[in-house]
Symmetry: C2
Subunit: 275 residues, 2 copies
């Protein structure tokens, strides 16, 4: 297929739900002039409980839909899809750049603390896939990695209870379960796209010397680099348009997604697509 015109084509961002909107928000802050298209495959979420074959198939379908809308690159803002489907998506979308969220997070953590001890907070599925462990140890064989599942943080972020006593107590309990307080980790990696919303609560609970690595903002940084390397930066002063697509539940997408994007969304802002 012909590569789209980089001066006008949008960047595609794909997730199983609303969580990836934290990645989209970070990209928008770094690249305010670029048009962005976000696709949340809400009809099939959660990807976590599905087989790798199913996830590859879903991700492939989503990427085809975004390719039909002439994206110039794809950001896979979903830890599960990043862990299992990147190769398939790169093949499907070549020559467009395709980046995930796991590698940028692993890269940032190992660069900040070489030979360090890293605590990855993630969903059960990401922990089970050992995606961060593999990505970190591939970069830094001396690194030590502990992965801890924090399912309640997903519901907490979706409910919007981001500060106050309940958030502090839940975050504090997970950190205490995951790691002895007497000897804190060098870094805590937010290995789920929902968790940047809880970054202030995590920062407040963690040891002051521990680095907090946010895979949403690190993925946004890698997006800029990839865009520049491929000479795909947009040139329009009038860019910055945002298109939001969901495969089911536009009303919930607007309500919960607004929280992740940091602005009020209306159901009319979300286009339902059949993928």
């Amino acid at each position: 297929m012909n590569p789209p015109d980089p001066s006008t084509a949008p960047i595609g961002v794909f997730d199983s739900g609303v969580g990836g909107l934290t990645v989209l928000k970070a990209i928008r802050e770094l690249l305010p002039g670029e048009d962005l298209i976000y696709l949340g495959d809400t009809a099939r979420l959660p990807y976590g409980t599905k087989s790798p074959q199913s996830i590859e198939r879903y991700a492939f379908k989503a990427s085809r839909h975004l390719a039909d809308r002439d994206i110039k690159m794809l950001v896979v803002a979903c830890n599960t899809a990043s862990a299992v489907a990147l190769d398939v998506l790169r093949k499907a979308l070549a020559p467009r750049p395709v980046i995930g969220v796991v590698d940028p997070g692993a890269e940032a953590a190992t660069a900040a603390r070489p030979g360090g001890r890293h605590l990855v907070l993630a969903t059960e599925t990401t922990v089970r896939l050992k995606a961060y462990r593999r990505a970190i140890v591939a970069r830094d064989p001396d690194a030590q990695v502990t992965e801890h599942a924090c399912e309640l943080l997903v519901a907490l972020a979706e409910e919007g209870w981001l500060d106050g006593d309940i958030a502090a107590a839940i975050v504090g309990r997970y950190l205490a379960e995951a790691w002895p307080a007497a000897d804190p980790p060098d870094s805590i990696i937010l290995g789920c796209t929902h968790f940047p919303l809880l970054r202030p609560a995590i920062r407040a609970s963690a040891d002051p010397a521990t680095e907090i690595v946010d895979s949403a903002s690190t993925a946004a940084g890698v997006t800029v680099t990839a865009l520049d390397e491929a000479k795909l930066r947009g040139q329009r002063a009038s860019g910055g348009n945002l298109t939001l697509l969901a495969s089911d539940g536009a009303k919930r997408f607007a309500r919960v997604g607004g929280r992740f994007l940091g602005e009020e969304l209306d159901i009319s802002d979300v286009e339902l697509v059949d993928i």
Copy 2:
């Protein structure tokens, strides 16, 4: 099809995940001599975000699988499936009795407090479907019904954080949001199969005069009545066998489901089925 032999045939219990095991547990306590077969459609959960047509199709497939295993009656231990698929399932499984969880909960609440004011705690989907509201008002046109979505309680129950400060704070916040403390409701209906695990925390937070109606245990009571009316009680002294089926993720089913069933489960206790 020929109805199975009631003296040896099992009772089928169906849910989208592990939550319905609270219903199974309640049935087991009332009917210790009956064989039970539980099917959790974990490959397709959550049903809540799916269309009614999809839910009907999934529930139909699950019921066919259980019919092939010669169940003598079916308990739909899933609020969403109870709200949208009971008619389809009754037709598919006739002459076997098929009962859901919504009607027994509504029946118990209106019988306990005629003309009362009822607070239904449920998932977003059950609230959106207005299933309890309709079932309550059909029985008692003078009843007042408020439905409140409590998504965090699902994650809290699955995480097993059932008591202590965090459970108390979350339950307290939902109750305060849902209803003015100065004028408490006559009943609180636990309109999600996950919530009976949090009953002690809900009881402690609620006004002492408020009746707590648990749709899992009321559904178990209706199961006994339906079995007796259809003359389907088992006669074997050696009954009480339990078969657990899941359509995906046997390991997680065993770990989380054990909490709902109130006994330790091993992965070998769960049979994976393709439905």
